[in-house]
């Protein structure tokens, strides 16, 4: 057993209100520079929709992530030699037009225009070339536009659905959508790391954060195409790729990452997971539909004496073990089984999990009073968003995985409704509980964690113990730059 710790997260999609506060917090901290304007290390997209960059999920287009070749895992964009061969032109690289060309307006024209009979205007100019431009897209261009046949209809997940299922989706397209906030998943089998010819990208052993060494990056941009989530970005001005750093400088100071801290809906949970790194490859080799379960299998119980002994033998710090025992992520993913990885079929083993949105109303609405469907699992299957679509997002197409989660979420709701409104027969609640497979106390714990907890329980930042790290003896300035963020000189082109 090769036991490792990973700072992981859960996003509870039922709670996301799509306010983009998280994106702005991140932008103001890390990417408010020339060459980075277009980068949204944290972005929030509307689903169904095409996302950012457009159609990022379509790996026939971008060839991101891994594929199984015989008994081996290989990057979908090609093996190592092929990757080096594509250094002069990477056919899978998205261009700026797949994201959007950043723009601003010539505001000065509003005040500097000579007096005249017409109203002065501020024309849009490109932030790359400075020339006037026609704006074709922007960040969150399709925000809340799920009904649009440009966006929802082109969602790669929707295209996969049968005609019937599509109809089901579009019949109510004007009503149904949800928000999907995305950051780098700090995967356990990261494709970005595997694709970097320079070896500049690495995973930190102690906490699993994936970083790009800015001094080692040579701008070969293979990570941009290899990451199936499109969460590494090419800095077109500096010639370096950059990505989400999970706010490690904040975490090292005991603070929550900025997007977590600022989240208005309080949808974000953070904590340590212990997992068995020896199982990474075998897990990533599983069939699409088994990946989510296999990944859960890889995660270890931080209270199991055997695991503890192995962790201590491997030299894991006591504080990290304690943090793992308090981790809300372990509860969501393992104990309660209500959080799933996004697109596990990309086989990077993402360490950010999502509680899928409980879109279906379980009942029919009669002028304000709700009548539960006789068999609400039937209604679940006739959910507003086809379960197949959600299974395509969170379970490699395995509907059973998603259904199991929904049964639990439904049981929580029914139990709470019975407790607070009291209009449900106890038998009905009991039945939901039985089918969900969770105890009354567990359902209450889920309710507490999703609704009542304070930040210290939602976000359990482990002490990262940097004071004990070997680089304590390093030149702090040099260390800063080699770490993946921070630099001794301004991060821009000089030569």
């Amino acid at each position: 057993m090769d036991i490792r710790a990973q700072v992981s997260s859960v996003f509870h999609l039922d709670k996301c209100i799509g306010c983009h506060t998280c994106s702005i917090a991140c932008k103001n901290l890390w990417t408010d520079r020339r060459g980075n304007e277009y980068m949204w290390w944290n972005n929030v997209e509307t689903k169904p929709g095409t996302g950012y960059p457009t159609k990022w999920e379509d790996q026939e287009k971008y060839h991101g992530g891994w594929e199984r070749v015989g008994s081996q895992l290989r990057l979908k964009q090609g093996g190592k030699a092929a990757t080096i061969g594509k250094i002069f032109h990477n056919p899978d690289l998205p261009t700026m037009d797949d994201y959007y060309e950043p723009f601003t307006y010539k505001y000065a024209d509003l005040t500097n225009a000579p007096a005249g009979t017409d109203q002065p205007t501020a024309r849009a100019v490109s932030m790359v070339s400075g020339k006037p431009m026609k704006i074709a897209a922007g960040p969150n261009w399709d925000d809340d536009l799920s009904g649009s046949n440009v966006y929802a209809a082109n969602d790669p997940g929707v295209i996969e659905l049968s005609a019937e299922q599509q109809q089901q989706l579009f019949a109510i397209e004007k009503m149904v959508m949800f928000h999907l906030p995305r950051i780098c998943n700090h995967c356990s089998n990261p494709a970005c790391v595997a694709s970097c010819p320079s070896g500049a990208i690495y995973k930190r052993g102690e906490d699993g954060i994936v970083l790009i060494n800015q001094d080692k990056c040579r701008g070969w941009r293979m990570c941009v195409s290899a990451c199936p989530y499109k969460k590494t970005y090419y800095g077109w001005s500096s010639g370096k790729s950059e990505k989400c750093i999970l706010c490690f400088p904040r975490q090292e100071a005991g603070e929550a990452p900025a997007c977590f801290h600022s989240c208005v809906g309080r949808i974000r949970y953070l904590g340590v997971l212990l997992y068995d790194a020896d199982k990474i490859e075998a897990t990533a080799m599983k069939a699409d539909g088994e990946l989510a379960a296999a990944q859960r299998e890889m995660i270890l119980d931080p209270c199991d004496p055997e695991v503890l002994a192995a962790a201590r033998a491997a030299g894991m710090a006591e504080q990290i073990i304690q943090a793992a025992q308090k981790s809300p992520i372990y509860k969501f993913v393992k104990q309660w089984g209500i959080a799933l990885p996004l697109h596990p079929e990309f086989r990077t083993l993402p360490m950010l999990f999502y509680v899928p949105p409980l879109l279906p109303l379980l009942s029919t609405d009669h002028q304000g009073t709700q009548k539960l469907a006789d068999d609400f699992f039937t209604s679940l299957e006739q959910a507003r968003l086809p379960l197949m679509y959600l299974a395509g997002l969170f379970a490699g197409g395995n509907e059973e995985e998603v259904k199991a989660v929904y049964r639990r979420l439904i049981a929580v709701r029914l139990q709470r409704r019975a407790a607070t409104v009291g209009d449900l027969a106890e038998a009905e609640v009991e039945r939901a509980r039985t089918i969900s497979g969770l105890e009354r106390d567990t359902l209450d714990a889920i309710y507490r964690m999703t609704s009542l907890t304070r930040i210290k329980e939602r976000i359990v930042v482990p002490p990262l113990l940097r004071e004990q790290a070997v680089e304590a003896g390093m030149d702090p300035e040099e260390y800063k730059q080699a770490m993946g963020f921070g630099s001794r000189k301004a991060p821009k082109r000089r030569w």
């Binding site: 090769d2 036991i3 990057l75 190592k80 030699a81 080096i84 250094i87 002069f88 032109h89 990477n90 056919p91 690289l93 998205p94 261009t95 700026m96 490109s126 790359v128 070339s129 020339k131 990261p190 790391v193 595997a194 970097c196 010819p197 320079s198 070896g199 690495y202 995973k203 930190r204 052993g205 102690e206 001094d215 080692k216 040579r218 701008g219 070969w220 941009r221 941009v224 090419y234 077109w236 001005s237 500096s238 010639g239 370096k240 033998a313 491997a314 030299g315 710090a317 113990l465 940097r466 004990q468 790290a469 070997v470 730059q481 630099s487 000189k489 991060p491 082109r493 000089r494 030569w495």
Partner: protein, 225 residues
Amino acid sequence: MADLILFGVFPYVAMALAIGVGLYRYTIDRYSWSSQSSQFLESRALFWGSLPWHYALLLILLAHFLAFLIPAGWGSLLGSPARLILLEVTGMALGITTLIALVILILRRVSNDRVNAVTSRIDWLLLAVLLVQVTSGVYIAISLRWGGAWYVHTVSPWLWSLLKLDPQISYLANLPWIVQLHAVNAFLLVAIFPFSRLVHVVSIPLGYLGRPYQVVIWYRQRRSS
């Protein structure tokens, strides 16, 4: 005198700059070490420019290098007329390919607003010097036939004399002006190398082939696992 400076002194200056400034930049400002790819801003024209440019150029450089390194072997390789002609034709084709590709790349930088915006003065200088280099090379290939053969008796010994710190400028002084230009301009490229994006040529990431896919860095010593 001019010959001495150009063929006997300048190559050393260029090499000294390349190594000295290169090392300085690598240690003091490693962040700046990048290919500065602009594919993200424009991909289609780059495909038609960058791919033929790099691959054809690599082959041409390889030929120059082999003929310099093992002149005897190279000479016997060209022993038969068939092989000599084959090499001549291949070289010519590759040279013309690089020229066309370079023109595509230059036009792309001129005409595409985005790419234009990320092109610095040193980039333009580099492109100009490269254009001179490739044009003169193709011109030599066309006007002074069988370069594969005479290179071995003229340029190779000159380069070797430079390497042995005993510059024999007469080898070059007697050659046509266009060859002299090609040679001096080559060292100009060497001199520009550490100041420009050209530094990426020494970063060929062949280590990737032997490396495991995943890279994990531990900060504290692991006791055991």
